[in-house]
Each structure stands twice: as structure tokens, then as C-alpha cells.
């Protein structure tokens, strides 16, 4: 069983994800340059689109990467039900490619936010959150200037009723307050799933919270859940 991490020019969190998957969790993981043909991805059991600044965030963050041929390969895998995880710029790319709903806008307070965030697990009904308990509050770092998730009212309603909201920003006690929202995203949404729940996009960086030595291993369960799901799938 092998996982793929897609690298675009400007991706910079690929090595951290690779470290967690292959060294911490023992999964054979390939770093895949975006110029590979879409078919190259056919046999992977899981795909991660890492954080960074693909194409320098030109035009819109993730806009150009989302429209490269390799993403057809990602879409085909997603359609087959393979788990696809987009972290930060990866979430932006997933949104721009239509694999998840909505768009990531500039932070409400126009500042690059680099800090720890509290996230509440909103659903455990997904390949990425199965190892958590609903309502768990976890601490995961964020580092972004365009993490303000937005979508229209009717899509929000669908996301909520279909249990597609994966994580919300909350305070230490698990309340989704305005103060705990680092970027103004609608309903404090930090991560969402697609309709079939096999694609997750989130702004925070779980790969930076997967080992105690970095201060938190709260994010590790996202990868553990994904691996467990891929093994059975």
C-alpha cells in the first residue's frame, strides 16, 4: 500500500507530510512531481496535497495548481473513493478544483496568521476523523493568509445537514467563538469533506502536530484514520 504526496513548484510542506507518513507511521510514501501523467497516480491508496505556495499563489491561491493535468488523476482517484487529503494550500487547491465546496479567501484581518489553533472534531464519519471522538478539541498549528473559508448560505446548509463539516475553530472549551476564529471563515469552519466524505480539505497543519517533540500529537489521528481506511478500502 502506497501513498502519494503531490508536489507543485512552491509546495513546501511535502517533506513534513512525508516524514509523518513514512517515518512516524511507516507507510511507503512517494513524492510525486505534478508533471507526472494523471495515470501515474492510479495505484495509490491515498493522496495528500501538501501546504505551501504553489505557483506563488499567483492569480488566486491554488487556482493554477488546481488546473494542472495531474489533478485529473487526483479526481479519478477521488471518484473511486480513495481518500484524498488537502492541507492548507492543498485545501485551496481542492476548493479551486471543485473537489470540495467553497473558496478560501484572504483572512478577515489581513495578516498572515501563524499560531496554534483549537479545532473541534465535528464528525467522526469520515476516513480522516474516525480515530477521534465527536467533540474532541485538538491543538493544531495554522500558518496562512488566505484561510477564510466561504460559501453561500445554501451550500453551508447542505454541508451542515450532510455532516460534511470536519473541523471548526473553537476556544479551549470547545466553543466556536469569534475570538477563536483566526481568519473569519464562515461558521468557524476549518476543514470540510466532500459529499462522499473521502476528500478532506483543512487549513491547519496536522503534520506539524503529529509528534510530542513538536508540542502536540493531536493531528496524528487524521493520518492514522486515513491509513486505516486505505488498508481496508
Amino acid at each position: 500500500m502506497k501513498f502519494a504526496i503531490i508536489r507543485f513548484g512552491g509546495s513546501n510542506c511535502d517533506m513534513d507530510v512525508h516524514h509523518v507518513l513514512s517515518e512516524v507511521l511507516g507507510v511507503e510514501t512517494d513524492l510525486v512531481w505534478y508533471k507526472e501523467k494523471p495515470e501515474f497516480l492510479s495505484d495509490y491508496a491515498g493522496v495528500v496535497i501538501p501546504g505551501g505556495f504553489s505557483y506563488g499563489d499567483y492569480l488566486r491561491a491554488g487556482a493554477i495548481a488546481a488546473r494542472t493535468p495531474i489533478m485529473d488523476g487526483v479526481k479519478r482517484l477521488a471518484a473511486k473513493g480513495v481518500p484524498v487529503l488537502g492541507i492548507c494550500n492543498g485545501f485551496q487547491i481542492l476548493a479551486e478544483s471543485g473537489l470540495v465546496a467553497g473558496a478560501l479567501r484572504g483572512n478577515e484581518y489581513p495578516k498572515f496568521r501563524c499560531s496554534s489553533a483549537n479545532l473541534r472534531v465535528e464528525t467522526t464519519d469520515s476516513p480522516f476523523t474516525g480515530a477521534y471522538k465527536k467533540g474532541d478539541v485538538i491543538r493544531v498549528p495554522i500558518a496562512h493568509a488566505e484561510g477564510n473559508f466561504y460559501t453561500d448560505a445554501s451550500t453551508i446548509s447542505k454541508l451542515n445537514s450532510n455532516d460534511q463539516v470536519a473541523f471548526r475553530y473553537v476556544d479551549e472549551d470547545g466553543n466556536p467563538t469569534a475570538e477563536s476564529n483566526p481568519n473569519g471563515s464562515v461558521e468557524n469552519i476549518a476543514g470540510i469533506l466532500n459529499e462522499k466524505k473521502n476528500v478532506l480539505g483543512l487549513m491547519p497543519h496536522p503534520e506539524r502536530a503529529s509528534e510530542d517533540v513538536l508540542g502536540s500529537r493531536d493531528g496524528r489521528k487524521i493520518f492514522e484514520s486515513m491509513i486505516k481506511y486505505a488498508e481496508i478500502f
Partner: protein
Amino acid sequence: MKYTAQVTITLKKGMLDPEGTTIKRALNHLGFTTESVNTAKRLIIELEAESADVAAETVDEMCQKVLANPVIHNYTIDVCEC
């Protein structure tokens, strides 16, 4: 024929424009008062087309496909032979 299309991309009405607000504040600090400041992105595209209408259609397709994000953007296209 050679045409130049000017695409202007703006955020939909009601969207927060933090960059615009920040610029408004900066102007205020310099002694200027404004009702509002909003940012827009301008793309200048030169292309060959049989007519201005065809050029506009092609550029509209570009906007739909990649230049604008329909979730958050509006856009206008002006075509000239300049």
C-alpha cells in the same frame, strides 16, 4: 485581428475586502476621507480573433474557466482593437 481585452475582477457585493479597508485607513492617516475603497484585479490580454465579439466570448470563457472564481468574484470584459 489583434484585440486587447481588459478583464476587471472584483469581489461580489457584500464580501469583505480587508485590503481595501486597510488602504482606506492608510489614506485616512494621510488626511484623505473616503466613503469606501475596494480593490480589483485587472488582466490585460492581447489575442487574435475574427471579431471583437469572438474575442470577448473567448475571454469570457477564460474567466469562467480560471481567471475568476464564481464563488466569490464578479468580472467585466472590455475589448478594443487598440
